[in-house]
């Protein structure tokens, strides 16, 4: 069987896997951005307790393997009596998906936190002072003046992190989520073709990450109109 035969024969499965990979990555990136920005703001806060929590979180998450984190979210939490709600969307139960997304969100938020913090600190202090001297409170000054500039500065690093999270998402296949990697394994089993399914999913992963990189580069170009 040629690689094209494999692709067309199992195209429905590849498509389903692609959708799964894209959705877990998408939700993890959104969640990671929200939590990451909050953590970054905690990290530069004047309140020592908040700084401490954020520092501890980032160190802990960055210092442990993502595979372990996924396993803890899926196998560990129910043992502690924490059950993620089992919600059906379109007849598909998404409790597996929830633990996968949760693990990836927690993982990526630690990295995004560091990226955002460096971005905020890369904005000159005078910007905050100018905004405050006009009468903006700290929050508005951050939102209207500092963060937009910070995001522009960190766009390349953020794009990198998005690509990383898409690749990392392949690890959720270990908890039985039918993502691209899981699909490759399944098709290997039923088609007795060890190599082709892997090549195909590698190509799909590459197309997704390349699109992201390209999109981020486009955004960079758009945002650099003020340079």
């Amino acid at each position: 069987m040629s690689i094209l035969d494999v692709f067309f024969k199992y195209s429905d499965m590849f498509w389903a896997g692609t959708k799964m990979t894209i959705s877990i990555s998408f939700f993890s990136i959104i969640g990671g951005l929200i939590i990451g920005i909050i953590l970054a703001l905690m990290k530069i806060s004047k309140v020592r307790g908040l700084r401490w929590i954020s520092n501890a979180y980032v160190e802990l998450i960055r210092g442990t393997p993502v595979l372990v984190q996924i396993a803890i979210a899926f196998f560990g939490l129910p043992m502690l009596g924490i059950n993620l709600p089992s919600i059906d969307i379109g007849g598909v139960s998404i409790d597996r998906m929830l633990s996968g997304i949760m693990a990836l969100t927690i993982n990526t938020s630690a990295y995004i936190c560091e990226i955002v913090r460096s971005g905020i600190q890369s904005v000159e202090r005078g910007q905050m002072e100018a905004a405050r001297s006009l009468g903006f409170n700290g929050h508005s000054a951050m939102r209207l003046v500092v963060l937009p500039q910070a995001i522009k500065n960190i766009l390349p690093a953020l794009g990198n992190e998005f690509v990383t999270i898409i690749k990392t998402s392949s690890q959720v296949s270990v908890i039985g989520m039918a993502d691209l990697m899981y699909t490759a394994n399944t098709i290997q089993g039923i088609s007795f073709q060890p190599m082709q399914p892997l090549i195909i999913v590698a190509a799909i992963y590459f197309m997704i990450t390349f699109t992201i990189s390209y999109g981020v580069r486009f955004m960079e170009g758009y945002m650099s109109k003020s340079n």
Binding site: E124, A130, R132, S133, L134, G135, L144, S226, N227
Partner: protein
């Protein structure tokens, strides 16, 4: 001469009116960085419509004093009043007070991600809840005043230093402040740009704006200032009219400073 700024020893009726006219009142302010005394026993009151220039050697605490007035720096001791109310007071909302105290920085600090017009209208739209159209009208009239109407859609990176500083002045004026603080507004400019910024400041002074200026521009000070304050090592050493400071004061440090800079 020392009474020029100190109205508290006049009669009762006068005291009331003068208190009313005093926009900024700095009373016995002390500030230290680590062990360094950056401000000591500083008293300065500025009345409505006055143009006060603070001069002195670098490290004298001029900029620090200016930054304390709108609380970009905190003070250790003493009091600072705006329109008769202490800004140190817990009940005073510093954000609201800052809306009325404009500030122009040495390095302009324009918002680089916004166009010139957006720089000017950001605060009126978000803080005064002005409509975009209204704010743009005010922005346009300010741009005309500083002579940069054609730059309204430019980004700060496309402007020269002098143009940036004129936009920074317009941005502050858009909040319709009672008093404007200038922190060495021409120090970061190429020499040929200094004139255009000083001209805008002169025009502003003519409109009766209350201004406190930290400056090394002695010609400008002589011409525009109603009062000059000389600072050295965190203290106000001498104050008085430009004529007094430049011609009559026999204070040694004032004399030696002026000899060096003029």
């Amino acid at each position: 001469m020392f009474n020029l700024f100190n109205m508290h020893n006049s009669g009762t009726t006068e005291l009331n009116t003068s208190e009313f006219n005093t926009v900024i009142d700095v009373k016995n302010v002390f500030k230290t960085f680590k062990k360094l005394h950056v401000l000591q026993e500083v008293d300065l009151s500025v009345k409505k419509g006055e143009v006060v220039t603070i001069i002195g050697p670098s490290g004298a605490g001029k900029s620090t004093l200016l930054r304390c007035i709108n609380q970009l720096e905190s003070i250790d001791n003493g009091d600072i009043c705006y329109n008769g109310r202490s800004i140190m007071d817990k009940s005073s909302d510093i954000d609201t007070i800052r809306q009325k105290i404009g500030m122009v920085f040495q390095h302009f600090n324009l918002f680089p991600h916004l166009t010139v017009m957006e720089n000017i209208t950001l605060a009126p739209i978000n803080l005064l809840k002005m409509s975009k159209k209204n704010a743009a009208e005010i922005g346009m009239s300010l741009l005309n005043k500083v002579g940069l109407a054609e730059k309204k859609d430019a980004y700060p990176s496309q402007l020269s230093g002098g143009q940036k500083q004129r936009i920074a002045i317009a941005r502050s004026l858009a909040m319709n402040p009672d008093v404007m603080l200038f922190d060495e507004p021409t120090s970061a400019l190429d020499p040929e740009m200094v004139g255009e910024v000083l001209q805008v400041m002169k025009d502003l002074a003519k409109t009766g704006m209350t201004m406190i200026i930290v400056s090394h521009e002695m010609g400008f000070t002589r011409e525009v200032a109603s009062n000059v304050v000389f600072m050295d090592s965190g203290r106000i050493i001498e104050k008085g009219s430009p004529n007094y400071i430049f011609n009559s004061s026999d204070n040694k440090r004032v004399r030696s400073f002026l000899q060096k800079v003029i």
